[in-house]
Amino acid sequence: MTKMKHLSVPLEEKNDRPALHVFLKVLIVLVLTVFAFLQVFPFYLEFIQSVQPIEGFTPVDGKVYFWPVSWNWSNYATAIQEGDLLTGLRNTLIVSFSFTLISAVIILVVGYVLSKKKFKGRNVVTIALLITMMVPGQMLMITNYQLVSALNWTSTFAALILPGIVNVSGIFLVKAFMDSVPNEILEAAKVDGAGEVRSLFQIVLPMCLPVLATYFIMTFIAEWNDYLWPMLVTGNEALYTIQLKLVFFGEGGGGGWREVFLRSAALISTLLPVIVVYALCQKKLIGGLNISGIK
């Protein structure tokens, strides 16, 4: 199907009503711009709020501030310090990196074995894993919470990292990719005398790198943004992830506008790192979602 696409001439060139087309295209770009604007605008207002002076300024009733009364970049330092955001950042990085790395190794191994090894019970294992993909997380949340409490993990990182490390959708991502790799490549390595572990890490791993990179970015962002499970299991404030720091920002504070402005600064500081990662990796991310499965 995709081959035919390249053979054909773009359809617009054949159109004999060019004037209408220019008009249509302008209209399309206009509509898209409206969408992009609507999405960005609230964040712009949040940003403006984040640099308003925190002392001695009360917004006038009935006025939307499209521009701050003065630029107070020090709000960010204050917000990061008062919200303890650096601890949150450190915790989030520890959790996201460990989870993503451990689960990446597991999905690589399991995806490879399920795709390339012939053994009895393979179909049973595959189908059993497939079924768990359909089980919603909330069902597991309750009993895993009890399990994690029973194991006394609630004041350690283990509770945040370990329960979900066998990432079934990741397994099928790798498996789908390995299915498209011809067996001959792996058999050639076997003839060369490479052992199981060596052939896994020296042949399979480099082949899977594009898939793993996509998995890495997607999982990292998902971990960065998760708040529900950490909120449920983290009993220790020192282990709060950055999202939790944002949820509980200014708790016990006096409230008022100072808190509102600082909270905005905290929000922007929390969002900015993922935006940067996205800007750097957007090709992988957008391209990667294509691999991950829809024909």
């Binding site: 995709t2 295209k25 949040e46 939307v64 919603p136 066998v166 943004n225 708040y227």
Partner: protein
Amino acid sequence: MNDSTLALAQRKKRKTKWFTHEAITAYLWLLFPLAWWGVFFLFAFVRGFVFSFTNLTISISKISRFTFEQYTRLFADDVFWTAFRNTIIWTLVMTALNNGLGLFVAYLISRIHHGQKAWLTLLFWPTLVSAVISSQITTLVFNPSDTGIMNQIIAAFGGKPLAWYNDPNLSLFTLMIIPALLGFSSQMLIYYVAIEGIPKSYVEAAIMDGASTWQIFEHIYVPSINSAILYNCLLSIIGGLQVIGPMQLITNGGPSNSSMSITLYMYNALIGGENGYACAIAVATLNVIMLLSILQIWLQHRISRSEEAL
């Protein structure tokens, strides 16, 4: 030899052995992942199911007896039914909006020639926005006080300020707006990829035949991307049925449970120490989600079979 013994004989022939070298290495590799999965998925799942038939609370550490009381309580619980209704409304509206907007925007992007990738990048970033952040955006824009952005816009046009999420009649609707605005990006991308896969020659042939834009959309685009539509809708429905973020972070289900969702109700039951009841809520909703997933797989299978038949 009759048919069944023949089949049996054939099966015996095809039978692979359990303890081949390859099988042993395979199971050695799988040992740890499967054991872990067994504890945190399989065991957790079965336990939750079992707990829903017990009177387990945080104070009763040992399960005492088998009982249906959690379920009878559930079906008589008005708050649960409010949560159920809200969750269904949320799911239907969000599925329609996410997919409608996603498909609309993807279609628009596919119709322009230059800068398609740039537009995708520009409209895809909201997937990075966490539930916590989008909830804070909602409280900025729809703040019930006079200083809320929306209320100020209303005031500028001479209207009366609204209580938004503090108004029982408006709360659920208010919580939907920002997630709907920021939530269609991943659907958009999947629809875009699907639309790009449609052979241009189909569209050209239709134009030659004098088909209108809508006819082309209805008769060429929609049938060509129906598996993407199915996949996206299912994902939206599963996500929607599990919604908790905006409700938990903005209104905590209030005012007077008008924005309660099933997952939030379950979460609160769990936090309140009523573990058995929380499990019953989870099982009751879980069945819906699993049925939907199975339905989707079945439909997908049928679609791919009818495509093969063509």
